[in-house]
């Protein structure tokens, strides 16, 4: 009986482990949370002599202008520490602002492309991530970077990408937005968890790459959960 109870409980798992694995494309650290857990002091690093070459290092035409990390996320000084743990130097390249979203990018000491997005109005917060794929951005397979849980089609695109689409599991286009100066920032909301891939297209409308997104929390198509959430 006891053993059956565990088997029965396992069968009632609200998040079954049998779900297909979707490896993440980027590490996402939210500044507001990072500030809570990073205790070490920020170390200011002056603009490096490499700043002028960073455009080449980024691998995209938009080389941006160097800015200190602290200016990327004002008031979030402890984020500097997290960035340094990810081996990001004290400066990033400001790539510009599009539709109210400011974009910043750099490469960390291991050569991974890292980028940050900050909404000017702060409505949707800020995000920072590093692309850890071996054939990382920009490459034939990875032609656009956005955050794994796409709720708005916003990010950085490789040269030659004219537009970016968010696709659902059936390949339907949920949203499409043009790329300007290697940046894209749609103002339309995509339902949480609905986007399973992003597709990049060239100026002629030909698809250049389709990238699967990591699976995120999608509490859909589940049986009703008794008493959830519980307010005790």
């Amino acid at each position: 009986m006891n053993k059956d109870v565990i088997a029965r409980l396992a069968a009632a798992n609200p998040v079954p482990t049998g779900e297909p694995l979707h490896l993440p494309e980027a590490i996402r650290l939210r500044p507001s949370r990072v500030a809570m857990v990073v205790a070490i002091a920020a170390i200011a690093i002056p603009a490096t002599a490499l700043a002028g070459k960073l455009g080449d290092l980024l691998g995209i035409s938009n080389s941006g202008t160097p800015v200190s990390v602290s200016s990327v996320l004002p008031g979030e000084t402890k984020l500097d520490a997290a960035l340094q743990e990810l081996k990001v130097s004290g400066t990033m390249q400001s790539l510009g602002t599009l539709n109210g979203v400011s974009f910043y990018a750099t490469r960390n000491a291991d050569g991974h492309f890292c980028f940050a997005m900050v909404r000017v109005d702060g409505q949707f917060g800020k995000g920072f991530g590093c692309d850890l794929n071996a054939d990382g951005f920009p490459s034939a397979k990875i032609q656009a970077l956005t955050f794994p849980d796409v709720m708005r089609l916003q990010g950085v695109a490789a040269d030659g990408v004219a537009s970016v689409q968010a696709l659902d599991a059936n390949g339907n286009v949920l949203d499409s937005t043009p790329v300007e100066n290697n940046l894209f920032a749609s103002t339309a909301a995509v339902p949480a968890g609905a986007a399973t891939a992003i597709r990049t297209l060239d100026a002629a409308g030909n698809a250049t790459a389709t990238q699967q997104l990591p699976k995120t929390a999608q509490p859909t198509n589940k049986p009703a959960k008794p008493g959830q959430p519980t307010n005790k």
Binding site: M1, L9, P14, V15, T17, E19, R28, L132, K225, T230
Partner: protein
């Protein structure tokens, strides 16, 4: 950094599932990010088998989140979130009637599929204590289920 990348790639989904089983969607992203940030900071302390260790970090992260919500509630009872077993109402009722210590050790074995030794790592107790806790929790759950099955209220408003 390479080790961290490997750990992240191999265990991101499991950690995310662990958090989703215990927290509302609104805090999942933050809790997972915080867990891996701790992993990154303490990469030298991460054991060879990192998953139970990651679960332990996630557990503490969620506890901190719960305390934070309690502070925000400012004296009011903070809302808690406890995903229940799905698709089995009787089991859910019996499970929810257990105390949190019982529920957590059962979740770790049944939902995360951990051995009792690994569950002990997550819970921060000895393997022996975990084994005792597990067997008692399992017995209590079985007893509550059996009691629920034997309780058959008389139908109301039925003319015999």
């Amino acid at each position: 950094m390479k080790r961290f990348e490997r750990i992240y790639a191999e265990h991101y989904e499991a950690v995310r599932a662990y958090v989703r089983r215990r927290a509302p969607d609104a805090v999942v992203d933050d809790a997972v990010a915080d867990t891996f940030l701790v992993c990154l900071r303490r990469i030298d302390q991460v054991p060879a088998e990192p998953l139970p260790w990651l679960y332990a970090v996630a557990r503490k992260t969620l506890a901190n989140e719960q305390r934070k919500r309690a502070r925000v509630a400012q004296g009011h009872e903070a809302p808690t979130y406890e995903p229940a077993p799905v698709g089995d109402g009787a089991l859910a009722a019996a499970f929810n009637a257990l105390n949190e210590r019982d529920r957590e050790v059962l979740r770790l074995v049944a939902w995360e599929g951990l051995s009792l030794a690994d569950a002990a790592t997550v819970l921060g107790c000895s393997a022996v204590a975990c084994r005792v806790r597990y067997h008692r929790a399992k017995t209590r759950l079985a007893s509550r289920l059996a009691a629920a099955v034997s309780f058959r209220p008389e139908p109301k408003g039925v003319t015999r």
